[in-house]
Symmetry: C2
């Protein structure tokens, strides 16, 4: 290393997360290792632990970074607005299909995930769903959206034609789900 002990490298959590995003986009989740991250940042592996607790937290941060990109629809009425939001979440998540499953296994969700969940539940209630049903429907929709994103083929081979087909399937399922949810409106 060019640096002697005590010299700063100017790292922070944001820098580490941005480097992790580059690794993710070039080689998928498996390419994200603390050591490769350190290499890319010009630092020794353990230096990262001054800014991020462990590798799991890197994936957590990455996921919230991805969800931060989702722009909730400004207007729209009832379930149509929810449908549009789900579509936007799916579009963002499916850019990293192998990262998406990580959302399932996390017990503590990030701020942006919580924000999108709360928004969804609020809009569902606003559309006329009873409070308990709104919470259930929100969780069901999230499960479907995350699952559909995870089901997209991993980065390696992006064969043509499957893109349109998977979009049609996702949207068909989303419509079916919302049609069923609509029957809960009194």
């Amino acid at each position: 290393m060019n640096r002697t002990p005590g010299q700063r490298a100017g790292l922070d959590a944001g820098t580490v997360l941005r480097a992790a995003l580059e690794l993710l986009e070039s080689g998928g989740v498996d390419a994200i290792s603390m050591r490769r991250l350190a290499d890319r940042l010009g630092v020794l592996p353990n230096a990262i632990y001054s800014h991020i607790p462990d590798r799991m937290s890197v994936l957590d941060g990455l996921l919230d970074l991805v969800l931060a990109q989702v722009r909730p629809p400004a207007r729209g009425d009832g379930l149509a607005r929810v449908e549009l939001l789900m579509r936007r979440i799916w579009l963002e998540l499916k850019r990293h299909p192998d990262l998406a499953p990580h959302l399932f296994s996390r017990q503590q969700l990030g701020p942006h995930a919580l924000r999108l969940g709360h928004l969804t539940a609020t809009w569902l209630a606003g559309a006329g769903l009873p409070a308990d049903r709104a919470g259930q429907a929100m969780r069901v929709l999230m499960i479907y959206v995350i699952g559909a994103a995870a089901a997209e083929l991993p980065p390696p081979a992006s064969r043509p034609g499957t893109g349109r087909a998977s979009t049609a399937t996702f949207e068909a399922g989303l419509r079916w789900l919302l049609a069923g949810i609509a029957t809960e409106i009194s």
Copy 2:
């Protein structure tokens, strides 16, 4: 090792997979390593490669072992029969929530996964869905079922109360999905 070169340990793919299942049930997917597997089988790590190509294939085999346990409902009419099958798949998959996401990332599904998918599509078509819609609905249902299983809390802490709540949520979502799918019947 007690064995000298050339002596057999009596391994085969089935034995390895059963040992992997034990590791899975005691410590989750992360506990499944080629070296721990070898330890448990009284063999050196590389001996496993005589029976299974790599670690990914172990998870593949494990998943198909789990899906082999699913007993398709013998009788029932139309969508109700599909609903029952989905419920059974979910019950089996959610026993290993951290293994379930692996079904998403696999490009080549195992024989039992294919069998269940084919059965589902057949029954959907039998209920009156057009062929292309039946295939779509099958994929949508699988995405939801696998996602719902993966969303179950990991093994470590099984706190009481969440079990019933998650079952209710899963079944509500399944009903909504099938209600939507039913509208496709001409």
